[in-house]
Structures are given as C-alpha cells and as structure tokens.
C-alpha cells in the first residue's frame, strides 16, 4: 500500500531547497523599506525649519552640508541653495543672499538656466534692498549674457526700467520699458507691470503723451483682466486725467463717459460721471456740463459721495456762462450743505462775489457777508435797532430741482429704517433745496439713533439742519445746549430757572 509522505518538501532535492531558501531571503529583503537618503532627510528638515527664524543657523548648516557632499545630486544642491536663499530672504540678510547666488553661479559655471535663475534672484534682492545701481548692473549682465533668449532679455529690461524709475532716470526708464514690451509682448503680466511703471513715471514727470499711451494700453481687455479689481478704477481714470492735462477736454469727457459705462463699481462710475462733467465744463460746453453734473445725482441717487463736488460744478458752470442769478440759486444749496465753519465762510464769500458780479457794487455782497456773520439782529444782537439785517438770499429762489427730487424719491423710500437711512434722506432734501424737510429728517435720524450715531448725526443736525432752515449760523449755541441737556436744562430738573426752550420747534411749523 502506498502511503503519502508526511513531509512533501522532504522529497525535493537539496539543491532545490537551497534555491527556495535563498529566494525567500531575497524576497524578505525586497519587502524591507529602503534606507532613507541622509541628504534627502537633511533637505527635508531644512525645508521644514526654513520659516522658523530661530532655526536659521541650523537650516544654513544642513544646506551647507548638502552642498559640500560630493555625492549630492545637482537637484539636491539646487534645492539646498533655494532653502538657504529663502532663509536669507526671511532674515533680510541681503548681502548674504547676493553672495549665495554668486556661489551658485560659480558652482555651475556653464549652466545658463542656473545663471539666469541666480541673476534674477539677485535682481529681486536688489529691488527689495533698494539698491538701484547694483540692480541695474545685474539686470544689464542678465541681458548681455542671455542675449539670445528674448523673454530673459525682456525681463532684464523690465527690471532695468524699474531701477531707472527708482533712480529717477525717466528717459532711460521709458527706453527700457519700451524694449521690455517690444521683446515679449505676450507676457501680459510683465507687460502690465512695465506699463504701470511707465505710466506712473510719465505721470510724475508730467510727460502726458507718454502716460496717456501707456495708460490706454493698460485698458486693453487682456491686460485689464489682469489688473486687480481695487486698482482698476484708478487705471481707468488715468487716461482721462492725462487728456485733461493735455487740455484735450472733449476727448477727456468722452473717455470718462466711456469708462463710466464700462466700470462695474458704482462709486467709480459716479466719480467718472463727475469728471466727465468737469471736462465738459473745461471744454466750455456749459449746458452739457450742467446736464452731466445733474446726472451725478439722478444716475446715482443712493450715493452722496460726489454730490457736493457736482453742486459746486453746477455753480461753476453757471458762473462761467455768465448766468450769475442761476449760480447764486445753485450756491444756496452749497451753503446749506456746508458742514463746517470753513465751508460756510467759503460759500458765503462765493455768493457775495456773485452778488457783486451782478450789481457791480458791494451793497448786497456785504449784506450777504454781514447777515451770515451777525444774523438778522445785526452786530448789536438786539431787535428793532438800525443795524438789523436782511437776508439778501430771501429774495432768491432755490433752483428747480424737480427732476432731481423725483430721482431721489425712490432712493429715499428704499434707504431703510435706521438712523443712517434717515440721515441720508435729510441729505437728499438738502440737495434739492428743501432745508426744512431736511431738518425734519435730521431730527428723525437723531431720534432713532443709538450708539456712535449721536456723534455723527448730532453735529450735522445743528450745523446743517438747523442752520440751513434758519438761513444763518448765528445763535446755534442754543441748539447745541438744548440737544445736550434737554428741556430741563443743565441741572436736569424741570421747573428751574435754567430750563430750556426747544429752539427747533419754531423751525418745524
């Protein structure tokens, strides 16, 4: 009877067994994790520690060790240099950084890519270090050594333009910038940076034609798309400003109107609308200027930012056109909206000058000034005396603001229900020649207010609201006293001699 052997391996020849054992040990060895490369570990450690300023010395030692190791690969050495460069940049060790890049170039003398990288790094350091002379030398060396490589030469010229700009050598800056743009026009980011530099340099030097060309090119779609959103309104404005300085007012107006339509930022759009009106005024297109100034209100009824400027523009346009009565009517709104002593004095003088221009004598002009100085009771402050004064503005009606009022009505409705909204409504009434209605809304704003609103609304309620409703700034102390203490007066007790009368009440009838 055949029996099955208990150990089948026992039937194999010894040689086979030996071969199996060897294969098994080999397989085991293959399954073990590979020994880590000590250089790779050092680089990893250095990379991990490079942002830690306290470990700066250790990072440099680790990297130096890698660079000094003959069996380190080129990539490992380059990585070590990169890490050291990062550490020097972190510590702002500019001189060490420059020396390091010199060492890198010396280590790989024939390597164009390494040479380019090291030179660009040095240029970057010189930019941060604010060393234009050294930076220029490095940029020129880059352009010379890599003359066959157009993008590198373009980059070198872009850097040269920057250093010339810093050194205030504007003509050289323009030259280098032109070369950078011509050599690598497809590098949009670089072109944008160079044009920005060119535009700023030409603007500060007063070279408007150059600035205009650069600024207009920056608005080309592919470049405008790269401009940061917060920077775009300023960039859109610049060509118009150049045109104004070149006294090409009609072109400036057209440019501002174009960018007003193009910009998605309503604040910028309102500013462009105002600037277009200003350009039209400078170009002596008075009616067009007036219509555009008015659009600063009607097209942007929820933004008060440029309303004072636009109202001033309307006065200027009427004045320039010789329509002095209309200018006075428009200036009344400016005087109403003035929020400080300087503003009240300026607009009083402006109106006085307009009176003088109409009358050819100083009668009403000085009446205007004195009424704002002393109020209806005159210098002695007593009623019924010969020095009592009349407001010359009483005979002059506010301008017709019905179209403006209609446009602002919707914004008033939608402004909201808080104190700020009530304040906004008050401002809209001031700019439509309705000072009493404005006062009502100032009072509503203060009534609703809480927290820090008292500080902003309270003073305006008196300086604009009460003053404009009365027509002069004399005696506003009583208003301030009432707002601060209330009807019970400074002692806070009712029925005592210091009780105060509400000075606002007669203005609300």
């Amino acid at each position: 009877m055949n029996s099955t052997p208990r150990f089948p391996l026992a039937r194999l020849p010894l040689a086979w067994l030996l071969a199996l054992a060897l294969a098994a040990t080999g397989a085991l060895r293959a399954a073990e994790p590979p020994q880590p490369d000590p250089l790779a570990k050092m680089l990893k450690d250095a990379d991990r520690l490079k942002s830690n300023r306290n470990e700066h010395g250790r990072v440099l030692r680790l990297c130096e060790e890698v660079i000094a190791t003959p069996r380190a690969t080129k990539d490992q050495k380059l990585q070590a240099f990169d890490t050291m460069a990062y550490a020097y940049a972190q510590k702002r060790s500019y001189a060490d950084h420059i020396k390091l890049m010199d060492r890198l170039r010396a280590l790989f003398p024939g390597d164009a890519a390494v040479d380019r990288k090291a030179l660009l790094a040095q240029i970057g350091v010189y930019r941060t270090w604010k060393k234009p002379t050294e930076g220029l030398a490095a940029a020129s060396e880059l352009a010379e050594k890599h003359a066959a490589d157009k993008p590198t030469v373009a980059a070198a010229h872009a850097h040269r333009a920057y250093f010339f700009y810093r050194a205030r050598k504007y003509e050289d800056c323009y030259d280098a910038a032109d070369k950078a743009v011509a050599l690598d026009p497809e590098n949009h980011e670089q072109v944008l940076a160079v044009l920005r530099l060119l535009s700023d340099a030409a603007w500060s030097k007063g070279h408007m034609e150059r600035c205009l060309a650069a600024s207009l090119r920056m608005l080309e779609p592919q470049l405008a798309a790269l401009t940061p959103e917060h920077e775009l309104p300023g960039r859109q404005k610049r060509p118009g400003e150049c045109l104004v300085r070149l006294e090409r007012h009609d072109d400036a107006r057209d440019h501002f109107l174009k960018v007003e339509k193009a910009t998605p930022d309503p604040r910028a759009a309102q500013e462009f609308c105002y600037l277009a009106a200003r350009a039209a005024l400078d170009g002596k297109h008075y009616d067009q200027a007036l219509a555009t100034f008015d659009r600063v209100f009607t097209s942007y009824p929820d933004r008060t930012d440029y309303w004072p400027h636009a109202q001033q523009g309307i006065v200027d346009a009427h004045r320039a056109a010789g329509r002095f009565p209309q200018a006075i009517a428009a200036a009344r709104i400016l005087l109403d909206a003035a929020r400080d002593r300087g503003g009240v004095a300026n607009y009083t003088r402006l109106i006085a000058e307009l009176f003088r221009a109409i009358d050819n004598h100083l009668g009403r002009a000085n009446q205007m000034i004195n009424f704002q100085r002393f109020g209806p009771l005159g210098e002695d402050g007593k009623p019924g005396t010969p020095d009592d004064l009349k407001n010359p503005l009483a005979a002059i009606r506010y301008p017709d603001c019905s179209a403006r009022d209609k446009a602002l009505a919707k914004a008033r409705k939608e402004a909201g229900d808080d104190a700020k909204a009530a304040h906004f409504r008050a401002v809209t009434y001031t700019y439509t020649g309705q000072p009493r209605e404005a006062l009502r809304h100032y009072l509503d704003a203060f009534a609703r207010a809480h927290g820090s609103d008292y500080r902003t609304i309270g003073p305006e309620m008196i300086a604009i609201g009460a003053r404009a409703a009365r027509g002069h700034p004399v005696g506003l102390e009583a208003f301030a006293e009432f707002v601060n203490h209330g009807p019970d007066g400074p002692d806070g007790k009712p029925g005592t001699p210091d009780d105060l009368k509400d000075p606002f009440a007669p203005l609300l009838k």
């Binding site: 002593r341 909201g416 309270g458 209330g486």
Partner: protein, 189 residues
Amino acid sequence: MRQHKPRMPRRLVCLLPLLLAAASARAADPPPDDAAILAQARDALERIVSNEHRHTSTRREAARALNRVHEALNDWGRKGQLEWYLEQLQATTDDYIQASLLDGAQAAAKAGSYHLGGARKLWDTIDGLVKAGKFRLQSHGKRTRQSLEEARKYITRAGERTPTDKPMSITPPKLDIRSSLKPFPEPKK
C-alpha cells in the same frame, strides 16, 4: 405641570438677519405686517437676552439685534422699556452684553427725542446704582459713556460755528505819483 414659556420659533431666530436686512431695504416706518413681525422678534430677543441659561454669545448677538429692532420700529421710550433695560443691566455680568444694554438703555431714556437730556439722567441713575454697589460698570460700558460724552462735545462745537469772514472792501489802487513823477524842468532864463 411645568409651564412652557412661549418661545420664538427656531426658524424665526434663524431668519432674523434676513428679516432685519429686508427691513433695511424699506422706507422709514415699516408697514403694519412688518411691524408686527418686528414686534414679535423684539419680544423673542428680550427673552433670549434675559435667559441666563442661553449661551453668552447668543445673548450678546440678541442684545445687539434688539437695539436694531427698536431702531427699525422707532419705538424708543416705549412703556416699560427703560425699566427692562435697567433690570437686565443689573442682572448681567458680561461686558459685551452690558455695553449693548447700556446703548439700548441710553436710547430708551432718550425716548425718541432729539436731545440727550434723558440719556444724562440715565447716567445719574447708573451712578447711583454703582454707588449703592448694585452695579459695576465694565470696560465696554465705560466706552459707551465716553462715546456719549464725545458726542456732546461735538454737538457743542457744532453750535459754535460762525463764519469769521470780514466784509468785502475795495481799496483804491495806489496812484500817488508825487515821488516818482516830477514836472519837466523849466528852461533857464
């Protein structure tokens, strides 16, 4: 049996910011329907602020939102409002809640008027509570008071604004030629 206090529906609490934003987009006085919702929100917020078992951050937000709801309703000085604020002020120890409550209390004392007389009286009351040891003013609360004092200073300055311009005058141009122009010399006889 345990009585359940009426609570603001959870959905309403979540929708509060939206409600307030929607209210901001409307005109000054909310229409009756919105006013009713805001009044409901006000009552619920008062319950949240006064509930010490609620999380502090929720109470802080609720105290701030409550002031905003009063502003929208324009109901500063409503009956019992100032008393409620004073009661909560004495009950809370949190700095931020105290600041919001003080802000609300000031406005409640001002009672929708255009002067700060009521707010001044409130601070007299608070000083009395502090003296009696019933209340401790914390840092943010001190800032609320400081802010009011600053506002009063600005208001005082606004009343002092009078233009200082002098009247215009025309000075005749100097045409005195006595020293510069002499008569031609007479021919010698």
